[in-house]
Symmetry: C2
């Protein structure tokens, strides 16, 4: 026998059960995206390399999967780089296409390319796989889905309000109560940097401050000083070390702290608008919290910054996003502000699994298996099967006239709860013997009663 | 301004309208696949090259997109092939992965890899993109979706019966009445080859016979003789030149014609079982027809062969499939018979478009746009917007306080039928002014009436 085949590291096969659960999450996202006015687009799996390269930094470039040109690709290969065995520089002469690394750059490309057909503000969502040549490790894959909702072409902060609601609404529909939607604003971070007089130390500052719970105030101060932040600077932002209370209280503390920074004050104003209106509209199950240490994608975001933390399980962030002021600038379309959020499908899956939140109805398995006891019996069964299917009920018939025992085992192993038998007697009487494999209950019923029984349990 | 960006030839961006229409088709397929007991799997976009190479013939190998190894790929490049500038032979030393070319080989790989977790017969469906480095042309793309349903692990002909029903059921749900499901059997083709005493001429024979309608009996005969089929051989299968009537009549003619061929008789018997039972169970809108010229994938199929032709429009086949007796043998798991069908998503899309069969409700666009006339008005509107969204109704608010005119135009261009205005007066009265942009009708209503109005039109 040949060696058992495998799949490339960092990729996954999904079983019927896994596909059903993933589709359940995605269908809830889609329904909410659309309720909130976002419309779907899809872009090709591979883009021209020039569209992707240089957009994610040097490390990003390295992690992009390149597609080898078709045919006699060496005929166009750069001879110098080939002679020097310079893999890095040779690539562009033997590869013109690359697999999508995220959905954001293709979205920017889409907006610029189709700008004449698009109505701005343009609200789009996109749920598609992306590929990264990352070192595979637990929970990190080389192929994974991103689920993004973005709106471009408006500066209105109502969009940030709506995105908080969108997170809340998706989690509510998933039954995931108690998620924390953390919010910050790039302008507040700039205000803090101004206040401590050290713009280049901002990341060091927020990283250290974020450890307050773990290493205590003394530890944080030591780390900051190690990183070259002066003791006086730390003194100036002392209130951040006891930054507790509700959002209003935190905003008040920030107002006092950043009163000298125009940008900081603007950031507070923006945050206040968002938080006030979210409060006025109410959330279903999530909590909005201000976190001044939140700095993800700092070089990218220009206004609001979001990150979502799941309740009860230690999982890292299950979503994130923010406002960026010039996304499409990289493709020549200036002054288009955008804001968007992303849902982490794989992590949300793990959270729902761990908390037992997948409904039992999330399955694609049939509710009943008809046994096959011979050609005449099978035809009689298939008539019922067809009619049940026409009513939208998932049922199946065992295709072969195998031993009854084997057919029962098949139903069990496929987790099909009901087995329907049509044998000689049933054929004469025109009825069906049904067994519930879970409760071991048995019935002999007419077709209409069979249909009702299965519908009730479907 | 930078050059407007583009996408690789043979690939497509899909607009919101196109995505909604494609999802509509796919959701009908999925619902039917599951009603018929098929369960979804998903496999990675790229496979190890050895999984794919050599499975589709030389031409297929050439059309597979190869992924360049990450990092310093030249360090492992074969020096001889490099020195000879032998692109073809070099590939395997600088590329270990390749994009999926179809869903069948990955499915076979999946079955063998997971054979211990699978219950046979295993009914799976798979809807995923595949990639081919084909020359792009009208209707042929380098990235396109395949939609396959297969069952492996049983020889039962009930599965063929069911697959005919599945085609019929999908087309019925799509409103596409009058599709022709053509059926043939590899064994009948073998019987014909035996009868004309020229196995190697079988394809030439069927290709010529298929032209009967176009070039007439004389033309077909001439073409056959040109291809080296003897006049006596042609005489022996004379009945195929007037091969009309219903399926039963055709089967009778075949019985007489192939009475000397054991394999031919077996093929007739199989076809008879399938056609008799399909007839007994009935079809909703499609017609099953026997077509002895049907020979697609001849080297692949071992039993039934299917092909579907759309009604009213010239589109080529919109689906096809058949039985294959040793799919998983290529990965070392012998004696697993399978049968499956495929739906041509792109062509079905074009057929539905041409026949105007997409329901108007197939859209992801909001039903109503709330205007933004100021902060207080917007908050009042957003409360209504949130409650409508909670009821599952897609609505949107214009994010900026722009000129009313501009906001109305935005609704028009996005094809949003209702515009809701909350101005000073509405804010005082606590109600909503609604305009239907299509009929120009206007109402001033309470929230409950607004909700009812929008629900009724949703």
């Amino acid at each position: 026998m040949a060696q058992k085949p495998g799949i490339p590291k960092g990729t996954r096969d999904f079983s019927p059960e896994e596909v059903a659960k993933r589709q359940y999450i995605m269908s809830i996202m889609k329904a909410n995206f659309e309720k909130f006015g976002y419309q779907p687009i899809e872009t090709p799996s591979f883009e021209n390399s020039e569209t992707l390269m240089g957009k994610y930094g040097e490390e990003g470039d390295r992690l992009i999967f390149k597609i080898l040109n078709s045919g006699d690709y060496l005929s166009k290969a750069d001879e110098n780089h080939l002679a020097n065995r310079d893999s890095l520089r040779l690539t562009s002469s033997i590869s013109e296409k690359a697999l999508r690394y995220d959905l954001t750059v293709p979205f920017a490309r889409y907006v610029v390319q189709h700008q004449n057909d698009i109505q701005f503000p343009f609200k789009r969502y996109q749920i598609q796989p992306v590929w990264r040549a990352d070192r595979p490790q637990k929970g990190r894959f080389r192929e994974f889905y991103q689920c993004d909702a973005d709106v471009v072409g408006s500066n209105s902060l109502w969009q940030e309000v709506e995105l908080v609601q969108l997170y809340d609404s998706v989690f509510a529909d998933l039954g995931l109560d108690g998620a924390t939607i953390k919010i910050n604003n790039r302008k507040i971070l700039s205000g803090i940097a101004e206040t401590i007089g050290a713009k280049d130390k901002l990341i060091d500052f927020t990283v250290a401050l974020d450890k307050l719970d773990k290493i205590g105030e003394e530890g944080v101060r030591n780390e900051m000083i190690e990183k070259g932040i002066s003791a006086e600077a730390i003194e100036k932002v002392q209130p951040l070390f006891s930054f507790t209370g509700n959002v209003d209280e935190k905003l008040e503390k920030l107002s006092a702290l950043l009163s000298a920074s125009e940008e900081g004050k603007k950031g507070i104003e923006e945050l206040k608008f968002i938080c006030d209106n979210v409060k006025a509209l109410g959330l279903k199950g999530a909590t909005l919290d201000l976190d001044v240490t939140l700095a993800r994608g700092l070089n990218y975001y220009t206004g609001a910054i979001f990150e979502v933390v799941a309740p009860k399980v230690a999982m890292g962030s299950i979503g994130g996003g923010g406002r960026y002021d010039d996304l499409t600038g990289i493709f020549g379309l200036k002054n288009i502000s955008g804001v968007g959020i992303s849902f982490g499908l794989d992590r949300i899956y793990l959270v729902l699994e761990e908390l037992g939140l997948f409904p039992e109805t999330v399955t694609s398995a049939p509710i009943a298996l008809f046994l096959n006891l011979g050609e005449g019996e099978a035809l009689f069964s298939m008539k019922a099967v067809s009619e049940l299917r026409n009513s939208g009920i998932r049922v199946d018939m065992y295709p072969d006239k195998s031993k009854t025992d084997k057919q029962f085992k098949y139903a069990e192993k496929r987790n099909i709860p009901f087995v329907v038998t049509v044998g000689e007697q049933e054929l004469i009487d025109g009825n069906y013997s049904v067994k519930n494999l879970v409760s071991a209950q048995k019935w002999t019923v007419s077709f209409n009663d069979l249909k009702e029984l299965l519908s009730d349990n479907f």
